[in-house]
Symmetry: none
């Protein structure tokens, strides 16, 4: 009998431990040796569980984006009005600022470090993650309009990006409240949009 290790479970453990390592240095800057060391295993073991650095990161994206959505929805759910939702979103952004910046950074960094060929391989993973986020945004807003969901998602991404770039003047809550007011004003004039897919 082999050493008693639950391959799948251990793989997932390694993945979740990996996130901080990627977040600290970025996809391109961290080395497999450093990851291995950070996880307390050898590079050989790392490659026993993941065929490549890219694959490791893709599995991380898969895993994290899944958990992200679950966490965010449970944290943001249960609000009635748009205004309440936006306040909750603002609080969520403030609370998870560091995490979200890291996640954004790591994601962009990965895309940059791929040449167009290998990026295509990854695209399925990214598409899935994107869909999850879009779906979650719809659920959160209580609407099914894809364009609107994309808009809100873009806003969230953009506002995090501004922070990532060091713009300290931006205020998450202020921005979310503005978004709320704009959504309210817009939806008041376009009631039919709700539940339109």
């Amino acid at each position: 009998m082999p050493k008693i290790v639950n391959h799948e479970q251990y793989r997932k453990e390694l993945i979740s431990k990996c996130f901080d390592l990627f977040a600290q240095k970025g996809y391109g800057a961290i080395t497999m040796r450093q990851i291995a060391q950070g996880l307390g295993v050898s590079t050989g073991t790392l490659y026993h569980y993941f065929p490549s650095k890219q694959a490791l990161f893709e599995q991380l994206v898969e895993e994290i984006s899944e958990q992200d959505v679950i966490t965010a929805l449970s944290e943001l759910g249960g609000r009635e009005t748009l205004t309440e939702k936006m306040t909750a979103l603002g609080n969520y952004l403030i609370k998870n600022e560091d995490y979200l910046i890291k996640w954004t950074y790591v994601w962009v960094d990965f895309c940059q470090n791929q040449d167009s060929k290998t990026l295509l391989n990854s695209s399925r993973v990214f598409k899935r993650a994107n869909q999850r986020y879009q779906q979650a945004t719809c659920e959160f807003l209580g609407i099914e309009n894809r364009v609107l969901a994309s808009f809100v998602l873009s806003f969230v991404n953009g506002v995090i990006l501004e922070k990532l770039w060091g713009d300290e003047t931006i205020d998450f809550m202020e921005q979310c409240q503005l978004l709320g007011e704009m959504l309210n004003a817009y939806l008041a004039k376009n009631l039919h949009i709700i539940n339109f897919r």
Copy 2:
């Protein structure tokens, strides 16, 4: 007698030629050798004019972000209504998609070095550039409200980020029109906001 060369002028020439090279491959992916080759000089010459790859890039950021703003404003200016402005913005995004994505890459990549001592130098460059972009956004919208400008800038950043991440479902024009409608609806209810700083 040395060759008659205007050091400063030649440096600027090199920088402006550099931009396409960075834009084509990204900061991380292009090598100093490739840059030198692309400029038709030796690596030695490159290092004669720029102390490091990072310094070269910083000078590029300074130069380009200035030009960017000028170009964008001249391209987007002269529209009367918000709706027209947003259509122009949509066209601008569509036309410059590749460029904007590269620029976003390059910018995020540059923030990777936040831990190192070079941060201070870089952050000044970035802050200046950010201010330029904010100022230009105000000018473009014809308002002086910082929060609103940040909102629009975040939206633009976010929408580009979505594309960078490979979300092909997002439609720049569609998003810009939505932004226009939301702004119109919002401003109709908040006329006092205009020219409020």
Copy 3:
């Protein structure tokens, strides 16, 4: 109670299954993992039956060169004239081209380790195999002249080597027929050579 396994018999089974794997990829290119996978066992099991990759290969050489000779002789036997023999040889070479090239590869590759201490072990294996091939050549030609046998064997090796090197202009049948004519012309003038040892 241990599993009922005839160690020796199982070892031989593994060896014979191995040959195709070595033949497909070559000694240097195939990994123990791949061999194990190809045999449907674990690497651990492989090392349970064979102390090393080299040992596995040596046992394979022993086994295969024995079978080779038997197969070749049965395929080539029963011809009367030299001309017939040479036509049969040509067909044999054409039919087994891939196999013979692989075998040549694998054999030369193995001689790479001549500096190491393992040479002694290996050379015995190789000498035995060489003797088998020489003996078979004599039998095939129906003569006992060692020089002539070496000549024919060298020719066969050489013609395979040319193919291995990518010379596509060489034609096995053409070469064999030439050999036949040369042998006929030579033997006609040197009848005494036959059965001379």
Copy 4:
């Protein structure tokens, strides 16, 4: 002005120094680090002159096979009869046995270490070298018959291969003399073959 180095000349110097290194360990076994060390340069410098290990070897093949042919022809030329030629060939083989074995070993070893894709890239180099050898064989024999040239070349390859495999019973002179007698007997009956292409 750069460091005064004649790039091309230095490259050729490195190549010729390389041969022994490859010959001592084989293509697959020697590492770029070892080659660099053996040449007294850094790995970086090695890669400054050669884009890859494979390219280095290909250039070596090109260079060596050219010199080989020149050397061999000058050493073997000037003989009148076939018998004399074959005696000269025998002496040549005896004198250069070590070198020829190494060369054969290195060549086969290289072929083995390529997967079929990269082997195709190399094939032009090998084809050229093969043609050189064939042409030289024709010149040496004083005939233009390709089949006969291939035959003799195969014989030479094969007889070297036998030695490489450790067959100590084979005698180069004996084999060459046999080849001479066979050729004489064959050509006496096929005078028309001479100068037939």
